[in-house]
Every structure is written in C-alpha cells, then in structure tokens.
C-alpha cells in the first residue's frame, strides 16, 4: 500500500504541476500520507522530495493560517504559498504580530480581502524580515486608501496578480504601476469605479498585463 502511494508520489512529482488541481492533489497526497505514517514520511518521502530540488510553481496552494503554511512548507520543502486571511476578526488580525512571524518565509501571496487594513499596517507587513518577494497581493475591500506602501516596497516588484476590488475612492496611483509592477499579469479594479479610458491610459506601459478587470 505504501509502495503504491510512493509510486503515486513519484508520478505526480514528475508530471506537470502547472494546474492548481494537480498541485492540490499532490498536497492532499502528502497531507494524508504524513497523517497516516509520519515516520515513514520523514525517513523516505521527505528526503526524496527534497533531493529532487524542484522549482515549485508559486504560489503552490492556498492556506488559511500560519500553522497551515508551516505544515505545508514542511511537507513540500522550498515551496511558497498563498496565505488567505480574510476570515479573521478585526481583533485577531494584528499586522505587527504577523510581521514578526518567521513562518512568513513560506508565503509569496497575501489575501487580505475584507480586512480593514491601514497603510501603516500594510507597510509593517511588507517590511517584515521574514517575508520574501510577493507574487500575488489581494487588497480587495480593505479600504486601504492609498497604495503608497505597496509602491514603496521592493518586495512587490515581481507581483503578477494585484487585486484591488472594492477600493472605490482610494489613491491607487495607477500611473506608477507600469514602472513598479513590470511583471503584472492580472489587475483587478472591479468596483473601484475608475473611468475605463483613464485607467487604460495610465496602465498603458504594463506590457505583461493579460487581464484587466474593471467591472
């Protein structure tokens, strides 16, 4: 049975992990196997996975807590994840505490949709010594007000996905996007109520942009 699972692991690792479904299937397999046989996982699977030195697609998967990201980071050495925190209560979301958490090293995507986030709070998180370059950032419905902390941070230069849904009336500084986000592929300005032609003019230099949402 274990050999069969190991065979499945090898098959999945040597196949394409480009689709979200395949990555999730691999993560499920690892989670299940670790739960059933942690010793065997650590003695056989973990060295095998580490030895392959795979360049994992980023973010590898979505997690909803620092505990989960730590566990997933252990199961898939070297992979980085998307941390979704929109479910947190205001009282449980403390940017200062988050920024000091070393488990942020496993994170390359942050989803804050629905959380009340101040520019100072966001700046504190982005300045965390533990946080590496971000690939995705979701500031939907955060009432962030200004995007200055994002534009001032070197960690956001490699962003491919920026979600600003529901931030009407904010100072989004669109004219600075082409210089600061050269790799941006997806920009979500849904419910920001920005005039389409104006936005397109400001964003003209985003050469890698594949989809602009402005509904």
């Amino acid at each position: 049975m274990m050999d069969q699972s190991f065979g499945e692991l090898r098959s999945q690792l040597h196949g394409s992990l480009e689709t979200r479904k395949k990555r999730e299937a691999l993560l499920v397999l690892l989670l299940e196997h670790y739960e059933q046989a942690p010793d065997m996982f650590m003695s056989r699977w973990h060295p095998y996975i580490s030895g392959l030195r795979i360049e994992w697609p980023e973010p590898f998967a979505t997690v909803t807590s620092l505990e989960q990201v730590e566990h997933a980071g252990m199961l898939i050495p070297g992979a980085r994840f998307r941390l979704s925190l929109g479910h947190l209560n205001e009282a449980d979301f403390k940017p200062e505490t988050l920024s000091r958490d070393e488990r942020l090293r496993h994170v390359c995507g942050l989803v804050f949709d629905g959380l009340m986030l101040t520019p100072l709070g966001l700046s504190t998180i982005l300045k965390s010594h533990h946080l590496g370059p971000l690939i995705e950032l979701d500031l939907g419905h955060t009432r962030i007000g200004t995007l200055r902390p994002v534009l001032d941070s070197p960690k956001t230069h490699a962003l491919k996905v920026l979600d600003l849904q529901g931030n009407a009336g904010g100072d989004l500084l669109l004219s600075e996007f082409p210089t600061h986000f050269p790799a941006l592929e997806v920009l979500d300005l849904g419910s920001c109520y920005i005039e389409k032609e104006y936005a397109k003019q400001q964003l003209d230099g985003l050469k890698n942009l594949k989809h602009l949402y402005m509904d």
Partner: protein
C-alpha cells in the same frame, strides 16, 4: 420586465439602451422586443410607482430571482448559455434595429453581463461563498448577504462570502467573470469548501 410590482434581482446579458427620452416609445420598444424571438427587455428600477429612466438592457436572462426566493446560485455555464442565445438572436435584433431607430443607435454597444434589480424598493447583491443561516449572521467568516422578502422578512438563509457587486433601484453593475477570476474569488473565501456565485435580493 417593465411595470413589475414584484421585487426581483437578476443576472442579465445584453446591450444597454438609454431610455430617458423614450417616453411612450418605451411601451412600443417593450412590445417589439417581446415579439423578437429569443430576446427580452429588462428595465431596472421601480417602473410601477416611479418613472423609468437611465439604461435598460435588450438581451437574454441568465437568472431571475424573486425577493421571496432566498439565495439563488448560478454558474459560468449559465452565462455562456445566455451569450450563445444572444448570438443566436442576432437576426431578430437586427430586424428590430430596422424597425426601431433607438435600437439601431445602440447596435454597436458591446454586450455584457449585468447584475440588476427591479420592482419596488429593490436591492440585489452578487456574492461568492456558501449558504449561511441568517440566525447566525454574527458568526460569519466573511461578509453576510441577507435576503428579504416583500413582507420585509429575512429568508432563513443568506450567503457568507465576498461581494462582487451590489445594485439598488435602477443601477446596472457589469460583471466580468471567468474561471481564473473564480479561482481568485475562491482564494478570498478559502475557508469555504464549495463556494458558488449567489444572487441575494432584498425588498429594502
């Protein structure tokens, strides 16, 4: 949908047409669209106790929700079906344009998917999430979307999720949905196991 005395929300696909200056010609347009195979006219807002104004839509219904219905789900496939139906109805639309100058003037408008509502005191929200008991609204993980009937009673269930858009009265909110965006919406509500698109209607 014109002169509706029931509060509805809807996802509707089609082209917009300004109705501010139509006056009685709106009734003619309504009749003509009704006779055009595969097409219908959506006039948002309260057109029983108020005057129609703003933009209406000529197109195809994706999903119609009565305020008594409670949360009602739909999928990308429903939108795609409506898009196909609209394209199939192009000949009828072109015939209509020949009969009606107001329609002829908007033939170049790009068809889009809209969240909209009509009837008295109408409000509709578009959410991505899961059903949630209204009695437990204070325990939601994300944002609670309630549904309220014309007796101003809450439906036993609403939706816990993120908001893609909301309309009231004669608002039209264009909706741009694709698989990739649904995946991102899924990341926003990552605690939910089986999130879906929901329309929640309120008589407010």
């Amino acid at each position: 949908m014109l002169h509706e005395d029931i509060t509805y929300g809807a996802i509707f696909y089609g082209i917009t047409i300004g109705i501010d200056d139509l006056g009685e010609e709106l009734e003619t347009l309504n009749t003509q669209v009704g006779q055009s195979k595969g097409l219908s006219l959506w006039v948002p807002g309260d057109t029983v106790y108020g005057d129609p104004y703003g933009d209406a839509i000529i197109g195809v219904m994706v999903r119609l929700v009565d305020s008594a219905d409670g949360p009602t789900s739909f999928t990308l496939a429903d939108i795609e079906r409506a898009q196909k139906s609209f394209e199939n109805a192009r000949p009828a639309l072109e015939k209509l344009a020949k009969e009606n100058d107001h329609v002829a003037a908007v033939m170049d408008n790009t068809p889009q998917t809209y969240l909209t509502c009509c009837g008295p005191l109408s409000y509709a929200s578009l959410a991505y999430g899961e059903l949630w008991d209204s009695a437990r609204k204070d325990e939601v993980e994300y944002t609670f979307h309630s549904c309220q009937d014309m007796d101003q009673e809450w439906h036993p269930q609403g939706v816990d999720g993120v908001t893609l858009g909301a309309v009231e009265y004669d608002d039209l909110h264009s909706v741009d949905l694709d698989e990739a965006r649904l995946e991102r919406l899924g990341d926003k509500v990552a605690k939910k196991q089986n999130p879906q698109l929901w329309i929640c209607v309120r008589y407010d």
